[in-house]
Each structure stands twice: as structure tokens, then as C-alpha cells.
Amino acid sequence: MNMDQRRRERLDRGIKVRTDGIYALMSWRELSYLTLPRLVLIVGMLLLPLVMPSMYWQRVISIVCIYALLALSFDLLAHFVGLVSLGGALFIGVGGYLTAIMNTSFALPPLLTIPIATVAGASICTLLLLPCLPLRGVYFAIVSLMYPLALARVIEALDILGGTDGILGIDSFPNRWVEQYFVIVMVLLFLFATRRMVNQDIGLVLRAVKDNDQAVRASGMSITFYKAVAVFIASAMGCMGGACLVHIYMWSGISLLALDFSILPIAATVIGGAGTLVGPVLGCFVLVPVSELLRAFGTLRIVFYSLILVAFIVFKSEGFMVYGRRKYNQFERWTKV
């Protein structure tokens, strides 16, 4: 067959077993076809600390999971609500400092500080971001970028919350296995909860806000309210990440408000596949270890890191989850034109 007389045809795999929450009986083959990718992800993540038992890599895994929470929150806001958030550093900072204060000043154990920091931090972040929620466009990105920059300078200038030294002497997790499995289970929980939510009716409303906010207003619903709900959920993930991070480092400082926390999740979303939710999480599992391995190159690390990102954007801009999902769900064959 001549090359220009044929084209690649894509056909969806004929599997119609799942219709809006109703699972019909089916063969083991189809059942495993549906559950296998999810099982691989869950089991893979749970086995990861066992496969890499060295202290160093276990710490990396914990950090990856915190970035994964941030990437998940970025993907939720950007691709399901239409808010481009640069607020990862804000979420981490608010969650982290709250935890540090509660742990050192009120001697609350991590069991209490993490849930309180998650809910209280998310409320604070939502309140801070509320003024720009009725607006469309770039305002949310700018305001969410402004807060961590401003807060870091405020802490530095007024020498509050430990100033540039930070808050020291925070409790760690009971042991490193608890630390590992806590963050891993949290990533999995938030991932599957978010996936479920975006397919429910409320998720549909959020997607509608992104698609056409005027029509949502005409439907008798306040777009500000639904945006605030989404920001609350997303910042809860980030604040929980910040709380865990503080307990892992046993220290809380200005570097919690560093822009890494805002930028890396976006890079992870780009290479993982925007709008897939699982893609950004896996993107973190690629990007953070890669950046660790590149430490061997010393100061050239950022150069190689940037080259990898550029290569991804040029050659696979859809992200590997979108690509993988297509390969998994569709047949491909060559047909004559």
C-alpha cells in the first residue's frame, strides 16, 4: 500500500458496560479491561515505598505526593472550572504555617493539625481569593501569584512567624512508614474523589462555569459560589500538602511560599495530560524524580530539566495520559483512502 493512499482509522473499543453509574454484568475480560488501569495505579503507588526502601528515595516519594496534590488541585481548577491558578505556593504556605503554629504553640499532634490545617487553611485561601472570583480571565492567576510573594515579604519584613529563620521544633510523623503511606493514601483518596465529583451533577455545573458562565447565571445559579466551592476543594488539597510537608521537614519557613510549588504542578499537568486528573499526578512522579536524578549535573540541572519540558511540549503536547488513554481505548488500523 502506498503511504499517501492510506490513513489511520481509529475505532472505539466496543465496551458499553458502564452507563451513568450502573454496572452491568460482563465477562472477566471486560471487567479486567476496566479495572486493570486503576488497580495498577493503586497497587503501584502502595508498593512504591517497599520497592524503594532507601531513606533518600522515601523522602522523595513523600515530596512527590505533595506535588501531586498540588498538580491535582491545579488541574481541577484550570480544566474543570476555568481558573488558572498560580496559588500552589499560597496553599502550601497557609497550610504549612497554620500547622506549625498549632503544633508549636498549642502542642496539637499531627493527627489533629493536619485535618484542622486542611479545613481552616482552605477557608482562609478561599476568603483571600474571593475578590477575584466574579471576574473572568487572567485576574485569578495574578492574584493567586501575588499572595505568596506578598506573604513571604510580610513575614520577612515584620519578623513575625519566626521571620527568616522560620518556625523550628515541629513534631515529625511517628515514623517514616506512616509518613509515606499517609501522603500516598491521601493522593489516591483525593484523586478518586475528584474524579467522581467532576462526573456528578455538581462537577457538570463546574464545567459549565468554565464553558459559559453567563448561561450559568441565566440558569439561576451564582457563579461566584460555585467557583468558591471549587477553590475551597482545590486549596484543601494544597493546604493538606503544606501541613504534611511541615511535619516531614519539622520546620516551617519562607521557602514554603516559594514559586516552585506554583510552577512545578503546571509543568506536571502539561506532561501528564491536562484535564485527565490522573495525568498531573503521574506527571509529578516523573518530573520530581527526574529533577532529583539531574542533581548529578550540578548547576546544569535546570538546563536539562527545561530541555525535557520543551521536548515534551513540542513532541507530545497532549500529555502522556491523553495519549495513553487513546491507545488503550481505541483500535487503530490502516485503511485505504
Binding site: 451513568d20 455545573v205 459549565a208 464553558d211 453567563q214 441565566a218 439561576g220 445559579m221
Partner: protein, 262 residues
């Protein structure tokens, strides 16, 4: 049914910078009637709808819905009271299938309270109710049309989808912004009975139209706007023989077409 005015608009004005888009426009609509609003391009018809439904803030004036002052309230509150609107440039959720477009209004507080059109929304499954509403409004249930992504639907269906979004809220009033424009004659022919049916069910309609011939098939009461001012209000014959209206539409083909029709 209460035959008093359901919507009273009192001296509404709107300025954009120095431009007077609406100049003290007043009118009343009785429950269950259809009021047509006509006027040349740029005469402030869409601005009037936008101010009544709260999508833009009016500079001065008052709007009363069932004796409640709704002027200055946010758009979603006004829609929540049952004063709904369609958009001239259709605003469906392009990435969602047609029936999922209706899940969103069915999720609104008003639809949860009232159950939506025909009350089906209280039963819970919003997908089914959405398809039911689409069928009533002219989407063929047994075809794939209700399941198609909105961005692939032709204009005629999108105009109906706009109306369906209002109906999902169980509206008291629908303010229609040019539902006939951009449709073929056969599409309009099937739209007219739909409008008549909505009126028979007790829904009050305010219709902005350029297609005068079709408008006069569904209503005989029209109001004419020109340069943001209300010229005249009356029956089709009164309006079309009025000198000021002729002047406003001078040279326009529409008026001649309608003159021969009337």
C-alpha cells in the same frame, strides 16, 4: 390566573459612558400574554432585556416582578424568581451533550424547589428529565440528537436549547432575544406552535424580533424602541401605520414587507 401586570418596568435608563442606550423606558406585561419588542438595530432592545434580567446594571429606574422590586438584583437571583431569558448569540455549553446542558439548570435551587418544567426534576434523575424536556421542545428522542455534543448541533436546535434552559427552571416569564433570527422558514414554522404552546401553559413571553411577519403570528401587542426611547405601544396595525415608526424604519425592507402583509 391573576390578570394584573406580572412585570412592570418603570422609567428604566441606561447609559454607556456618554451614550444613552435606554431613555426612561416604561411598560407593563400582563400574566400570560406575549409582548413583542421591535425596533431598528441599535435601538436598545437587547440592553433592555439585559437590564431587566440583571445582566447589566441599570443607571436609573425600577423593575417590579409581581410587585417585588427586582431592579439592581444579581442576575442569578432574578432567574431564581422565574424571570428567565434566552441569548441572541446562543450560549450553550458547547463541550457537553445537549441533554447534559439541561442538567445544569435542573441543578439550580429554583429547579430543585419547583421540580422544573412539569415538575419532573424532583424525581431525581436529571438526565432523564433533561431528555424529556428536549423531546417536548422538538428534539427527536429516538434519534441521536439529544445525545449530540452541543457544538455539533445546527442553529435551529441551539435556539431550542436556549428555550429549554429557561423551561428547565419552570419560568414565569421568558424574555426571548431573537429566537427566530437565523432560522429557515421551515424551522420557524415549527417554532411558532411551540411559542403558542408555552403561552397556553401560562408562561408570559417578551419577544424581541426582527422577523415581524412571524412575530405578528404569535402576538398582536408590540412595543417599538428607537434610539433607546419607546416610540409607541399598541396592536400591530396601530404600530405599523404610525408615522414615527415609519420614519424610524425609513427605507427598511421589513416595514414594506409588513405593510403589504397588514
Amino acid at each position: 390566573m391573576n390578570k394584573g401586570p406580572i412585570l412592570r418596568v418603570r422609567e428604566v435608563s441606561k447609559t454607556f459612558g456618554g451614550i444613552l442606550a435606554l431613555n426612561r423606558v416604561s411598560f407593563e406585561v400582563r400574566a400570560g400574554e406575549i409582548l413583542g419588542i421591535i425596533g431598528p438595530n441599535g435601538s436598545g432592545k437587547t440592553t433592555l432585556i439585559n437590564t431587566i434580567t440583571g445582566f447589566i446594571k441599570m443607571t436609573s429606574g425600577k423593575v417590579f416582578f409581581r410587585d417585588k422590586d427586582i431592579s439592581g438584583k444579581p442576575a442569578h437571583k432574578i432567574a431564581d424568581m422565574g424571570v428567565t431569558r434566552t441569548f441572541q448569540i446562543m450560549r450553550p455549553y458547547y463541550s457537553l451533550p445537549a441533554y447534559k446542558n439541561l442538567v445544569i439548570p435542573l441543578f439550580s435551587p429554583r429547579a430543585k424547589r419547583t421540580g422544573g418544567w412539569r415538575g419532573g426534576g424532583k424525581l431525581g434523575d436529571r438526565n432523564t428529565v433533561g431528555i424529556d424536556i428536549l423531546e417536548e421542545i422538538g428534539f427527536e428522542r429516538d434519534s441521536f440528537v439529544p445525545y449530540k455534543i452541543a457544538s455539533t448541533l445546527p442553529t435551529g436546535y441551539l435556539k431550542r436549547l436556549e428555550l429549554a434552559r429557561c423551561l428547565a427552571l419552570k419560568p414565569e416569564i421568558i424574555l426571548c432575544d431573537e429566537v427566530f433570527s437565523g432560522l429557515s422558514m421551515s424551522e420557524i414554522a415549527s417554532m411558532v406552535p411551540l411559542i403558542e404552546r408555552l403561552q397556553m401553559e401560562g408562561i408570559t413571553l417578551i419577544m424581541i424580533e426582527h422577523r415581524l411577519r412571524e412575530l405578528f403570528r404569535v402576538t398582536n401587542r408590540v412595543m417599538v424602541l428607537n434610539f433607546g426611547e419607546k416610540l409607541i405601544e399598541g396592536t400591530a396595525e396601530e404600530v405599523m401605520t404610525n408615522e414615527k415608526v415609519k420614519e424610524a424604519y425609513f427605507g427598511s425592507e421589513e416595514i414594506e414587507e409588513v405593510m403589504t402583509y397588514a
